[in-house]
Symmetry: C2
Subunit: 340 residues, 2 copies
């Protein structure tokens, strides 16, 4: 996803265009796209929190062998995310330089934002969907025949109402709330978004003081969705988006909770802080015209003990953690500071 | 002082124009301006760290009854600091709307920056000096006949070499260093300034772990000069100038040291965080084009116990703390959070 889809409205409030391609990849193939091994390619950017959800869920469920992943660079041009990290600037599977090409292959007049995550049908080169909330839920439910042994149930039937409710609050006030702070068109709109964000973070802080995970005693979709914003908080949102009542590292339960997940296989190993910072600070020239990328914050503290295991909880329920990521998907910096 | 005097040079480094009006007000009046009660007006802005030095020294020495003070608003126009906080937008003593008028009264073709602090000769309405490093030293040494009973010696003869040496390092790497981070014209120049700043802060952190004040065991000019930058660090420099390896509040000795001074009469009672934030975020449109002012950080923690008195030291040497500021110079918000 990206800010290119959004402009402040008249009262200064940032409004996210939520029109996504609603096609779904399902077990029964009712939209014409049945779940199938090696047919689709998930396209993400390490920078993007919405794409990060899909990368994490794919890792947790062990879908790497059947659903390959293309990775766009952190800095896109004005029209599209691009595959500038790949040799020759071309995705090695889709053979396109820009994600936009896959959108236009299916919709020649496509006029909305070219966003990640997107899933592309490899044989036709056409985008199937970029509807990020459905993508992760479908990976969890529709793709179950391909889940690894020991994959967790991220969206357990008896907890769906609670997961949906928490995720909705987190989406409005936190996931999207940080953007409403950063892209507010007026002081008033900014302050409203700031108050709403920190009220919700206080609510989450209180909840996570009492329990290890957001819903139940295992990792769920709700945790994935909260994590991708929190992990970017001090590196980007605190300064760049003026979400500066306090750093994440000054909210004890939230900070320990985020470190707990960061140190869990499938979460932290999807995070590339350098790409995250480069994306926000270079792309958003309306709020950072110099495009200078802050050198801070110090990241060594991500590896400090979180002591959340003392609260009980079973991260993967009856399942097990995923193994390490495929060699060509490893983030070079991950784990570096763990050693030092 | 203000950024209007400075532009990045070719290699991207911010370079401060250090040409100030060198006239001095002295006991012997050798420049034509003898120290005299009620003859001069010190002009500051609460926002400005360089002017803040003069406001603090005047308070510590008890010069309020003989040297009055005019206060410019936080947001100046492109040509000058203005007296927009005063009734009718005119300084009640100098009877001018803009500080520039006092500069032009003496130098009709004055082409350098219109900076605070400045001292104006009231009878002629002419600026005498804006040479900020000399202003505070002269208040401490040349104005001694008017010092209050119990005024501290901020520039003791037997410590001057050490004070000068520490102050020079603090000036280059910290006072001016934060501006070099914020106004760097290239990523390289920014990163050099950032490294230099935090190396110096580490050096200061280490020094202040061992001793309560920077030089000797009492407050000196060196502490005044460091304080005015540190007190603005989390509110402005951390985010706005990208000095974000860590917050001041994450450097234990420096943070306790700054709170110690903040809670000392003459220091914190000169600080107006709202004006400080408004100045930087509204005036510097080249780095904050939206002019939105961050609502954070939370300031309540300025009043938490600092425990520095346990290290010994005599804040005012053989002297005593100053009384409260004159009624018309009180910062309304000061002490508010101490009560809550």
């Amino acid at each position: 996803m990206d800010s290119e889809q959004a402009e402040p409205t008249k009262d200064g409030e940032f409004s996210r265009d939520m029109r996504y391609i609603p096609t779904r990849i399902t077990a029964d193939g009712r939209d014409g796209y049945p779940v199938e091994a090696d047919r689709y390619r998930l396209v993400i950017a390490r920078a993007c929190p919405w794409a990060n959800r899909a990368a994490i869920v794919r890792r947790l469920l062990g879908l790497e062998p059947v659903l390959s992943m293309g990775i766009c660079g952190p800095v896109h041009d004005e029209r599209s995310w691009t595959f500038d990290l790949d040799p020759g600037g071309v995705d090695p599977v889709l053979r396109i330089p820009r994600l936009r090409d896959a959108y236009l292959a299916r919709f020649p007049d496509y006029s909305l934002g070219i966003t990640v995550p997107a899933i592309v049908d490899i044989p036709t080169g056409q985008v199937v969907t970029n509807d990020f909330p459905s993508i992760t839920l479908d990976l969890g439910t529709e793709w179950s025949q391909f889940h690894r042994d020991g994959a967790p149930d991220l969206y357990p039937e008896d907890r769906r109402d609670e997961i949906d409710e928490v995720a909705e609050r987190v989406f409005v006030d936190v996931n999207n709330g940080v953007y409403q702070c950063g892209f507010a068109g007026s002081q008033d709109a900014y302050e409203r978004a700031y108050d709403q964000l920190f009220a919700r973070l206080d609510w989450l802080e209180e909840r996570l003081t009492r329990q290890r995970y957001l819903v139940g005693d295992s990792i769920t979709e709700a945790d994935v969705r909260l994590f991708t914003t929190l992990v970017r908080f001090d590196a980007v949102y605190h300064g760049h988006f003026k979400c500066n009542r306090s750093k994440l590292s000054e909210m004890p339960a939230l900070w320990a909770y985020t470190r707990d997940l960061f140190q869990t296989p499938g979460f932290g190993d999807t995070i590339d802080f350098a790409q995250i910072k480069e994306h926000y600070y270079v792309v958003h020239t309306s709020i950072n015209p110099t495009q200078i990328v802050p050198k801070g914050p110090d990241l060594a503290n991500w590896w400090t003990p979180h002591h959340r295991d003392g609260m009980g909880g079973r991260p993967f329920g009856d399942g097990t953690p995923p193994g390490p990521p495929p060699a060509d998907e490893r983030v070079p910096s991950y784990g570096e500071s763990a050693v030092s």
